[in-house]
Amino acid sequence: MNTGTKRRRAVVDQTACVACGCCVKACPLQAIEIVRGVTARVNEEKCVGCGRCARECPASVIGIREVEA
């Protein structure tokens, strides 16, 4: 449903992610996980875009974007 409001979300560049899992430890809402040892994936429902994972990511491949809620 598009309510016209905007929310912040973490977005992972999955081609560059090294799947180290630092973001998983940093997330206070358990909204990010490592999928099959290949890449990190954000749970769109849980993520509030606080940016802790982005700060922690050693490869700096997580960005915070504004998306339609």
Binding site: K25, I34, G37, R55, P58, A59, S60
Partner: protein, 192 residues
């Protein structure tokens, strides 16, 4: 978040590095850091080792994070490129096999035991004070010196990139991490 037993594995990493200064034969324990991640990725198809159990990563996280020994800057683009990561993996393993070859030469009796630790594949440090003889073949000790050289070298590289970039920058180009991710990619049933 509640701490689990595996959140303290950084202590094991510190102990490992210290034990190498006491008796070099302890270096053999480092093989755990090779085989456990490989087995987890080969059998489980995950990077569970990196994600949970890697004491070295935790140590960098602690020193660079809580102790503030990191500039927390972005790692340069080339260091996270596939070319560099795979290139470093190949280089690391080439050096590893060279170390195995040198160990073989000692086992075969073609070369005497060298009681040195080689840092950054270049600088030879006398390490005889941590060697008190072995019940086994001198080749067993030669492997220990070689393996400890690998572990100390990678720790130093990790510490340098920890200071320069983000605490766990080592994780970006860690050869074990690159290799286990490669295994996971090959095992991934949803891979394109």
């Amino acid at each position: 978040m509640k701490k689990r037993w595996y959140d303290y594995l950084w202590i094991a990493s510190v102990l490992y590095l210290l034990l190498g200064f006491v008796n070099i034969l302890f270096a053999w324990l480092g093989l755990l850091c090779f085989f456990i991640p490989l087995l987890i990725s080969l059998i489980g198809g995950t990077k569970g080792y990196c994600n949970r159990y890697c004491g070295r990563g935790q140590l960098f996280g602690l020193l660079g994070g809580r102790f503030g020994l990191s500039r927390k800057k972005d790692i340069p683009g080339w260091m996270k490129s596939k070319a560099f990561r795979y290139g470093f993996l190949v280089f690391f393993f080439a050096m590893f096999f060279l170390m195995l070859w040198n160990t073989y030469l000692v086992f075969a009796g073609a070369r005497d035991l060298r009681e040195v630790v080689t840092l950054l594949w270049t600088f030879r440090l006398a390490w005889n004070w941590a060697y008190h003889g072995t019940l086994f073949h001198p080749g067993v000790a030669q492997f220990a010196f070689g393996f400890y050289s690998v572990m100390l070298t990678s720790t130093i590289l990790g510490l340098v990139t920890m200071v320069l970039f983000k605490p766990r920058s080592w994780c970006v180009y860690c050869p074990m991490g690159t290799m286990t991710q490669l295994i996971c990619k090959m095992k991934d049933p949803t891979r394109p």
